[in-house]
Amino acid sequence: MSLGKLLERIIQLVPVLLGVSLIVFVMLALTPGDPVQIMVGEQAITAEQEAELRRDLGLDRPLVERFFLFVANAVQFDFGQSYYHGRPVADVIAERLPATIELSLVALIVALATAIPLGVLAAIRKNSIFDRMATVGSLLGVSLPGFWFGILLIMLFAVHLQILPVSGRIGYASEVLTVTGFLLIDTLLAGDIAAFGEALRYLLLPAITLGLPMTAILMRVTRTSMLEVMRQDYITFAEAKGLPRRRVLYRHALKNALIPTVSVAAIETGSLLGGNMIVETVFGWPGLGRLVVESIFLRNYPLVQAAVLLYAVTYVLLNFIADILYTVLNPRVKL
């Protein structure tokens, strides 16, 4: 990986981010609903007060000027003040981001940890009962509507069995110092095993709901590429060398079979991050997705703009990571 390639990627990012900003901007401008009126709601407000509020929010300026102002400030990582929170948008997003990332990562880990072994097993025992069940299971996994499945999980584990919490992110008896914002890490840093367990219990159902479709997809990819790899001459040759079966499977076959799995996982992580407002809604998870959807409804322009930019950067970044992983796993390719 050369520095030049990295620079090239960053330069490629520019038109994408500009395009994304422009689209968001135009979309918000075309969306009916006046932020000022929504903010004021039922309160009494004079025309002067309203004009002043509009000026405070910068909404009195022409659209084009607002756009360039936004871009100029965004370059300096200043995304303006959230209309509702009395604080910079960047702060508000930063507070919600760890919850979203934590949920997505755990979902990703759960997905990888189940999908790869199952996919490998299904490939090794191709056409066995297990393989057929795995195939049906994975099709089921991509077909389950997350919002519905989440509700069923809550009903079963939280309401009927009462073994997992209903909603939220952690119990509150244990105070955990916020260091990273990732509760699993913060609780461990604090050495508070009980709180760590709590955090895990809260995380479980949302992570399963979020990770299930991904598990299903990754399992299919792993199985297919594993079968593809197992047909290769180098596997026959490895067997002819009298290597232990474990080594043939895991060192020779899996390393190659994982190349597509990992690429797909990196790309899918993007949709995980962008698609979890449903899960956040169902499980009362205090993440970014819910905040963005609320902000769209409240016409909290600065927040929506900043969040969408963040998503776009993440998307490009994940593609980049996918490429890097691809080269790491596949020495034939030079990035």
Binding site: G33, G86, V159, V166, G171, L200, P286, L291, F297
Partner: protein, 512 residues
């Protein structure tokens, strides 16, 4: 099949409480609450839910008791010097959470911050409007603050409970942005941690002065800690209450009442609400410009059936805009449910075959709106419900006099002060901000303007009676009901009851 390993894993992890002992201390009172606070700055928010949370951390000059009566809190006494001048004597020895003492300067600073233009770092407080025509705030003696009004405004005392007092020194040190997340109030609880979007954790403030002298017990808070846990999903809130995870939940859905009641450790508590629901009929439109059509619509709706079936009986029907609890509310002529007469009225108005109309509403009220629509349809007003977004709908309907489209709008207006000024004027005065029906009645406008500044309570009451009779006859809206606020409460909670201004005051609440 993936379900099995997952199930096993789920079971394994579900067993973690055995490994990690459940971390719930006995003295945490947990409130399952619908919405997170936007900010913890008492002068920089516009939302009821935010205020509910802030008022456990901050106290105001005045507050309301369980009967909604305004009583002094941080003020010791209140004296009206003239129609435009009020003196507030500040209680002595009140401590902020950081140990400093509350002074008259802090009160002046707080009120200036709200009422003076650009007083919050170049911005004007969004709560300025709630303070009416305040001209100035002055410290007239070491323990006295005088509020001077530009014009008489009798509801000042009724509005002051909505403003909480901050520490001047603290605001100057942390700045306006700092105040959004840090708290140094005089309230019964100190902020421990705000986990944004998830929970606000507070603990008892041991140097609390005890709260309003008129609301016993005057003491520090009963519970060690209070946690507002944010649970937006109503089913999840109920489930959390039933599971004992939380002790008080707000906005208990009416259909869950029986479940909470029949559960062993929980009960339902209600309090009369302050939000009036009604249907605006576009009086500039082609059908509803005719009062007969509007009356027909009112007659077509079986309010009581909806109250009984959908709202679980937890609402008071209204025939004017005011809640039965509001100042100036009175018995009004009832529009009975009579679909046949509605049809006849429609025919009289020139629509013997009925009319086709739409009714806008927000998603949250879809069910009720659909039930109403099918009742209207049965009476010849064939109604299609259109669910829109709040932002779009207020653009469409609250046009302040600009032309509007649409036929009907199922909506509501809040009246936390229970003073008609807050609800009557905006919804009925010509071209006012909440006049979604496009109602224009100069005679009514005159009465509303006069009543707003009338100091004689009885005269004022009579004026609102006249106004109610007028709108009852003109029927610009179909007045529906004022729902109760319904709370689910664990039986372990004592010393707490809901209050009509949606405040959840946990000062006196205990947990057994």
């Amino acid at each position: 099949m993936k379900a099995l390993p997952r199930l096993l894993m789920a079971t394994a992890l579900a067993a973690t409480p055995a490994l990690f002992p459940a971390a719930v201390a006995a003295e945490d009172l947990i409130v399952g609450f619908t919405l997170d606070a936007d900010t913890l700055d008492p002068a920089n928010h516009r939302k009821r839910e935010t205020e509910t949370i802030i008022r456990n951390l901050y106290d105001g000059l005045l507050t309301r008791d369980a009967n909604m009566l305004v009583v002094p809190e941080l003020a010791e006494s209140i004296t009206q010097i003239s129609p435009t001048e009020y003196d507030f004597k500040i209680r002595s020895g009140v401590k902020f959470h950081d140990g400093s003492t509350l002074t008259a300067e802090d009160v002046k600073f707080t009120l200036d911050r709200i009422t003076v233009e650009n007083a919050m770092g170049g911005q004007t407080s969004p709560r300025q409007g709630l303070m009416g025509p305040v001209a100035s705030v002055d410290v007239t003696a070491p323990d006295t603050v005088r509020i001077t009004l530009k014009e008489p405004w009798p509801i000042l005392p009724a509005m002051l409970p909505n403003q909480q007092i901050v520490s001047k020194a603290f605001v100057e040190s942390v700045g306006n942005e700092g105040l959004a997340t840090q708290v140094n109030g005089t309230g019964p609880f100190k902020l421990v941690e705000w986990r944004k979007g998830d929970a606000i954790i507070m603990e008892r403030f041991d140097d609390y002065y005890g709260g309003a002298a008129d609301i016993p017990p005057v003491d520090k808070a009963c519970v060690d800690r209070v946690i507002f846990k944010i649970i937006p999903e109503s089913a999840s809130r109920v489930a959390a209450l039933l599971a004992g995870e939380v002790h008080i939940i707000n906005e208990l859905p009416a259909f869950s009442i029986s479940q909470v009641e029949s559960n062993d450790g929980t009960q339902v508590m209600t309090v009369n609400g302050t939000r009036s629901f009604f249907i605006a009929m576009n009086m500039e439109g082609e059908h509803f410009d005719d009062v007969k059509v509007r009356q027909a619509a009112a007659m077509a709706i079986d309010k009581q059936l909806i109250i009984d079936k959908i709202l679980g009986g937890n609402a008071a029907p209204i025939d004017g805009i005011l809640s039965p609890d509001a100042f100036g509310a009175s018995e009004l002529p009832k529009v009975g449910y009579d679909p046949e007469k509605a049809k006849a009225l429609l025919a009289e108005a020139g629509f013997p075959d009925g009319i086709d109309v739409t009714m806008d509403t927000e998603g949250a009220f879809k069910d009720t709106a659909e039930a109403i629509a099918s009742m209207l349809t049965n009476a010849g007003i064939r109604t299609t419900v259109m669910v829109g977004e709040g932002a779009q709908l207020s653009d469409k309907w609250r046009t302040k006099g600009a032309p509007k489209s649409g036929d009907m709008y199922f909506t509501s207006w809040g009246n936390g002060s229970l003073d008609p000024f807050d609800i009557f004027t905006p919804t009925h005065k010509t071209n006012d901000r909440g006049n979604s029906a496009g109602y224009a009645n100069p005679e009514l406008d005159a009465i509303l303007d006069a009543a707003a500044v009338e100091l004689d309570v009885e005269k004022r009451r009579a004026m609102y009676r006249d106004a109610e009779m007028m709108i009852n006859a003109d029927q610009p809206y179909v007045y529906l009901w004022v729902p109760k606020d319904i709370y689910g409460v664990s039986k372990r909670v004592t010393g707490w009851q809901p209050s009509a201004d949606s405040r959840i005051n946990l000062h006196d609440a205990c947990l057994n």
